[in-house]
């Protein structure tokens, strides 16, 4: 089954943490809504404070790439 790969980065802590995560994300074959949902799920499940989380890219991966 094809899956999604999300590339994220932790932003180094610098003083006061923002209570949001913001930036630009590259989307490869991933529609807007799917990207937004995936980022929200990752942010919620990862337990990483939003101010430390930054998304770089989201890419649709094939079965071959996932090794299944």
């Amino acid at each position: 089954m094809a899956g999604k790969i999300i590339e994220a980065q932790l932003r180094p802590h610098s003083g006061r943490l923002a209570d949001y995560s913001a930036g630009t994300v590259k989307r490869f074959d991933v529609p807007d809504k799917t990207a937004a949902m995936l980022m929200a799920i990752v942010a919620d499940c990862s337990g990483i404070p939003l101010g430390e989380l930054r998304f770089l890219s989201i890419r649709d991966v094939t079965e071959e790439e996932t090794g299944k």
Binding site: Y20, G23, T24, K26, L50
Partner: protein, 460 residues
């Protein structure tokens, strides 16, 4: 007796677009009407080259090569035409021969059928490589004369140029009056002189700027011109060409065979009329560009050059010396051997005339003027004033050969330099033509393809 056939080159996609709205018409405006335009019966549609290339990348975020391919796909029955500045391609500097050849080859491969080639000085050596390659690639080479009047630009001289052009492989001759200053009488005499001496189709290109165009085209047709450049009426007049529908109507009534379908022309013009309204509303199309301005006839300098002189003097706080500058301009032009007053010569002559008036006669000689005197732009039409030449060159001799002969091949080197940034040969040519603009365009293209989106996630 059979009627004389007069054919039309439609300029709305290139020169009319360039002259009236600074070449800002996007492909999205053209696209819906191209298939209809293809049925109108034009000899050719000028749609590419000139400033369209730079404008596509710089302002419209369009790949000019892709635009050409898309136009070709929608207009398979009409010859697509481009304007090429000989060895300068689409800019003002000389490029090495390998780049000129590659540019012509790719232009034809991507859909161009007619290449109109000219040189600001009418130095035919600067057209040689482009015409050779055009013919080799199976396209029609049209040799354009940069039209001007001077003691050295005689009818005999023009006919000589045309004869040489024919020998070089040009299939048609275009009289290119970019300033709109060619009078009906001058046009009649020139077309007659060419037609009397040579068996070659003649095309007339002029602008409405001074109000002469309709009369000039008519007299040209009477003298035997085969093709005229016109623009659909919503983008005609002023600094653009004379209206296609008007000339079609008048020439048909006069008994000429005009292979244009008036109903199709109307459909096409209705489409562009809507866009004209939008351009007027947004300010892109300025009413001043659509007016008749006879100053160019009075001062004997093209309209664009006159406004440049005024603005230079304004900046120097010396607008009161305009009359002196206008008197000095023909003197500088004569000193420089009567170059036609087209870009870049009009700027050079204008700046030098301003400098001569404000700072003293040739106290300061511009870098470009010095390069021109050294022969780097090509051969001057007449003799350059020997004293001025001595002053610039000293004991040095002016360049005898072509400036391009001094240039190293550039295409493969640039291609290697660009690496993956250039995805095809067309990209390399875009970069060589306009490096900074192309670089930005490539970066924007990559970004668009990567499909970047801004996001912000906040805790609930």
């Amino acid at each position: 007796m059979s009627m004389k056939k007069v054919q039309f080159t439609e300029t709305i996609l290139r020169d009319a677009n360039q002259s009236l709205i600074a070449t800002r018409m996007p492909f999205s405006v053209m696209e819906p009407i191209l298939e209809t335009l293809d049925k109108a019966g034009f000899y050719s549609v000028e749609c590419w080259g000139g400033a369209t290339f730079d404008s596509c990348m710089r302002f419209l975020d369009e790949d000019p090569w892709e635009r050409l391919r898309k136009i070709k796909a929608k207009m398979p029955n009409t010859k697509l035409q481009m304007l090429l500045r000989g060895q300068n391609l689409l800019g003002y500097k000389h490029y090495p021969d390998d780049v000129v050849r590659k540019f012509v080859e790719r232009s034809v491969s991507n859909g161009i059928d007619v290449i109109r080639i000219f040189d600001a000085l009418n130095d035919l050596r600067n057209l040689k490589v482009a015409v050779e390659e055009t013919v080799k690639r199976g396209a029609i080479a049209s040799g354009a004369i940069s039209y001007t009047t001077s003691p050295v630009h005689t009818l005999k001289k023009y006919v000589e140029i045309c004869r040489e052009m024919k020998e070089m492989g040009f299939e048609t001759i275009c009289i290119k009056d970019m300033a709109g200053v060619m009078s009906p009488q001058e046009c009649y005499e020139l077309v007659s002189a060419i037609k009397d001496s040579l068996d070659i189709p003649v095309v007339i290109h002029t602008h409405c700027t001074t109000g002469l165009a309709f009369m000039t085209l008519l007299k040209g047709v009477e003298a035997g011109a085969d093709v005229i450049d016109t623009a659909l009426s919503s983008f005609s007049g002023g600094t653009s060409q004379a209206a296609t529908e008007t000339l079609s109507y008048a020439l048909k009534q006069l008994g000429y065979e005009v292979p244009l379908d008036d109903a199709v022309l109307k459909t096409c013009n209705d489409h562009f009329k809507t866009y004209q309204g939008e351009c007027l509303k947004s300010g892109l199309l300025k009413p001043v560009s659509m007016r008749t301005d006879t100053d160019a006839l009075n001062y004997k300098v093209p309209g664009g050059m006159l406004s440049n002189l005024v603005s230079q003097l304004e900046q120097a706080g010396a607008l009161n010396r305009l009359d002196e500058v206008l008197a000095e301009t023909p003197v500088v032009r004569a000193d420089l051997g009567y170059p036609p007053l087209v870009t870049p010569m009009s700027q050079m002559v204008g700046v030098q005339a301003v400098s001569n008036v404000l700072m003293g006669k040739y106290k300061n000689i511009g870098k470009e003027v010095q390069a021109y005197i050294r022969g780097e732009y090509g051969r001057a039409p007449g003799e350059i004033d020997p004293a001025l030449m001595k002053r610039v060159l000293g004991d040095e001799k002016p360049m005898e050969g072509r400036y391009a002969d001094t240039l190293e091949p550039l295409f493969e080197k640039t291609k290697a330099q660009l690496g993956k940034t250039a995805r095809c040969d067309e990209d390399v040519l875009s970069y060589i033509s306009f490096p900074q603009v192309a670089e930005k365009f490539f970066a924007a293209r990559t970004e668009r393809e990567e499909n970047r989106a801004s996001y912000r996630i906040e805790a609930m």
